[in-house]
Structure formats: C-alpha cells, structure tokens
C-alpha cells in the first residue's frame, strides 16, 4: 500500500504500530498486507461472510467494513493473539479435538466470534451457539462440529476457572 495519508497508532495483539494509511484502506487489508498478519481472512468484503471478524476494542467486528484510519488509537486482537507460548488456548484446543474446522479459511472469524460469545455467555445452549456464530459462514463443516467445539470449549473454560 502506498504510504500516503495520515499517521495512525494502533495496538494489535499487544504490539503498537505507527503507520501511514490512505483513508480508504480497509482495516482487513491493513492487518494483512500492512502488518503481515495474514491470519485474518477476507471472504466477501461486504460484511456477510464474517471471515475477517476481529476484536476491535474488545468487541467482535468485521474488519472489511472498517477503514484502517478509524483504528487510530484502537486495540485490536486477531487470531494470532490466541495461542500463547506455542500452546493452543482452550477454544482452539476444542476446535482441534472436535474437528471444528476443515479448510480453515473461516476459522479465524469463527474463533474471534466464539471468543466473544463465550465471554458474554459462558454456558450457551446449542441454539445460542448457533445464533452466536450465524454471522460467520462456513462451507466445509456444516457447522455441527463447530457447535460441538464451542460447547466443549465452554465446559473446558468453566473447568479451568473452577480449578483456579
């Protein structure tokens, strides 16, 4: 991307970046091509597929519907933030054990969405899980094993919290 436009300061996954961005640059493109954080995927660029979902100031949003310039001062979390010290977190682990992904393209958006879902509702019903992830399209799994994964993650997180 051309380094024209305005300077922004943005914190992504705990690291601060200062970059110049053209106002029209989409946040998804900024994260991917500007910061080389390729984990966030772009699937439709009109806010329907949800693959580009990230946490923007703690809230799940479509990074294809936000301009990078709007992220000035924001704290962003992408899928790259989830695993710490080379270890999957409990949500990722549940997706791994329950085959909650196939091609993996929607997975970053699915994980970030599920993260918010479980934060707001730590023990969701199947129907609440389905409603919660309905904004992320998956063409491989038919969703069943994603729902299983999120349910398992809810149990695992509750278990880990109880153990603490």
């Amino acid at each position: 991307m051309r380094p024209v436009g305005r300077k922004i300061t943005v914190t992504v996954n705990g690291e601060q970046y200062v970059r110049e961005v053209e106002p029209r640059l989409l946040l998804a493109d900024f994260l991917r091509h500007g910061l080389q954080l390729f984990g966030t995927h772009v699937g439709c660029e009109h806010g329907v597929c949800g693959a580009c979902t990230i946490l923007f100031d703690g809230v799940a949003q479509r990074s294809c519907l936000i301009f990078a310039i709007q992220a000035d001062g924001a704290e962003i979390l992408t899928v790259e933030s989830l695993a710490q010290s080379g270890k999957l977190n409990l949500l990722q682990k549940a997706f791994h054990e329950h085959h909650g992904l196939q091609c993996g393209f929607c997975t970053p958006g699915m994980l970030m969405t599920a993260l918010e879902l479980l934060r707001e509702n730590p023990s969701p019903s199947d129907q609440e899980v389905r409603a919660g992830i309905s904004g992320v399209l998956c063409r491989c799994t038919g969703y069943k094993q994603i729902v299983d994964s999120i349910n398992a993650a809810a149990l695992a997180i509750a278990g880990a919290e109880a153990a603490e």
Partner: protein
C-alpha cells in the same frame, strides 16, 4: 472490491460535523457504524467524495431514561441498546426488534442513528420508532430540529433528513403498563433483510379491549409504513381470533412493493397479513400472561 478514494474528516463534536456537512454538501456522506455504507462503497455503488466519520463524537453515545421516553444518542451501538437491561425493561419491543438486525458483529458496530439515516425499507429500528411514535433530533446549519418518524421516512432512504443534517438523538417512548407489544419478521435466512416484518404496540383496557393500536410494517414498501387501517380496525375491539383476523386482512392495504427474486409482491402482501395476525396474537398472549 475496494472503495474509491475519498477525503476523510473526523470531527469530534456535533458542531464540527455539521459545519463539515455544510461545507461539503451533497458530496459528503456521514460515516457512522458503516455497516450499510461501507459495503456499498466496497462495491463502488457508493462513491462519496468526502467521508465525515462521526465515530469520535463521544457525546453521541448514551442511553438516558426519561419520564416517558428513552433518549438514545445517535452513535450508540445497536448491540449496546439491545442488551441494555433498562431498554429491555422499559421498551422491550426495541430490544426484540434489534435482535433481528443482521448478526451480532454487525450490531456491535452498527449505530442507532446510522440505521435511521440509512432508512432501509426493511429497517427494524425505524419500524419500531414508527410504531411507538417517537422522534428523531437532527442537527443542521440552522440548529437542531425534531422530526416525527413519519417526517423522517417521508421517502425512501430517510428522505426527511437533508444532506446537511446529522441525526443526534432518537427518542423512544417507554411502553406503559397497559401496553403490550410484539415484533416478528420473516426472512430467508437468520439475519437477512425481512421479507416482511411487523411491529405492534397495543394499549389494552378491561376485557381485552384494544384502546389504541399502533402497527407498522417493514420490508413491504419503499419505507417502513404504518398500517393505519389495521390500527383503526383493532381500536375499540375486544381482541379475539376473529377481530384480529379481520384487522390482519387489512394489512395488505399498506403494502407497496415490487416483485423481486426472493419474494413476489403477492407473497409479501400475503405475509403481511399472516405476520400482522401473529404479531397481534403474540402481543395479546403477553397481555394475557401479565
């Protein structure tokens, strides 16, 4: 699918935003949540030369409970309103309707003012506002003015607001103790634009007599519309299956839509009738359960 270039302004006050709007006129578009505008920009169906981003006008983010209404700042995110316990308690129809707006990630960013300023024919929030008879405050070069929902929805895409004006606040009347409500819509998939949607608020008296009815439809006309003939038919009646059915049959008179791929005009018209009936029934059941 990348937006065309634009000049970008990020005012931090309403005055500053209004001044920018006055300066740039028709070339400018206001960027609130961007959940309708940015997709259109990515498709290049919208190519505003100037974008005035009001996300940093922090004064526009609030929910305030008044005596008879709830005032909501235009930049309040839809999800914040949807999950507000106060809104759920005082104006449940709004929370219920909001749950039908897209998906959570959309509502996380989409704003209350944005959906009204966009004025989509299927917009749930505008439909609720029309039903409740609330108001919208806009700021413009001549200061602030208040619009009724009917004035706001004078034509497609919120034609009641002029291009140098900005929505700053929306007022939703609080549902009274003798009022019951319902909101139902039908869409192809969860989260899609409604093929037809109905919001209803009924003021009830002794013996299930409907003292006043407010019913609005979405997705079936160029703007959300009141179903006044349905309302008139319900008013003063004891609500039961047959009076509700008789009223529902008048819903089609409010419909003005086109045949399109997902639904024929005839089908949409019919859905209105079915959904008006179901919504009124839902409201009545709730009344009965109270």
């Amino acid at each position: 699918m990348k937006p065309a270039p634009f000049e970008y302004f990020v005012p931090t006050s309403v005055e500053e935003a209004v001044e920018l709007l006055a300066r740039h006129g028709d070339d400018a578009k206001v960027l609130a949540g961007g959940q309708s505008l940015v997709p259109m920009m990515n498709f290049r169906l919208a190519q505003p030369a100037v974008l005035i981003d009001i996300n940093r006008i922090v004064e526009l983010g609030y929910i305030r409970e008044g005596d008879s209404s709830i005032a909501i700042g235009a930049m309040t995110r839809q999800r914040v309103v949807e999950t507000s316990p106060m809104v759920r308690d005082k104006c449940a129809i709004l929370s219920e309707a909001l749950a039908n707006v897209g998906h959570q990630a959309i509502r996380n960013r989409g704003t209350m003012g944005g959906t009204l300023a966009h004025g989509d024919p299927a917009a749930e929030v505008a439909t609720v506002l029309l039903t409740l008879g609330g108001s919208v405050t806009v700021a413009g070069p001549q200061g602030k003015r208040e619009l009724s929902p009917e004035e706001l929805l004078a034509g497609p895409y919120a034609a009641g607001i002029s291009s140098d004006e900005l929505i700053v606040e929306i007022n939703f009347p609080i549902l009274a103790a003798n009022e019951t409500h319902g909101f139902l819509e039908m869409s192809r998939r969860h989260g899609d634009f409604a093929l037809a949607g109905v919001a209803a608020v009924l003021r009830m008296g002794e013996g299930n007599i409907c003292e006043r009815a407010r019913v609005a439809l979405c997705g079936v006309a160029p703007t959300p519309v009141r179903a006044t003939e349905v309302e008139n038919q319900l008013t003063g009646k004891r609500l039961d299956a047959s009076t509700i059915q008789a009223a529902a049959e008048l819903a089609s008179r409010a419909v003005d839509c086109e045949d399109e791929y997902h639904a024929s005009r005839e089908y949409r018209t019919h859905l209105c009738q079915v959904y008006v009936r179901r919504t009124i029934q839902l409201a009545l059941e709730r009344w009965g359960n109270n």
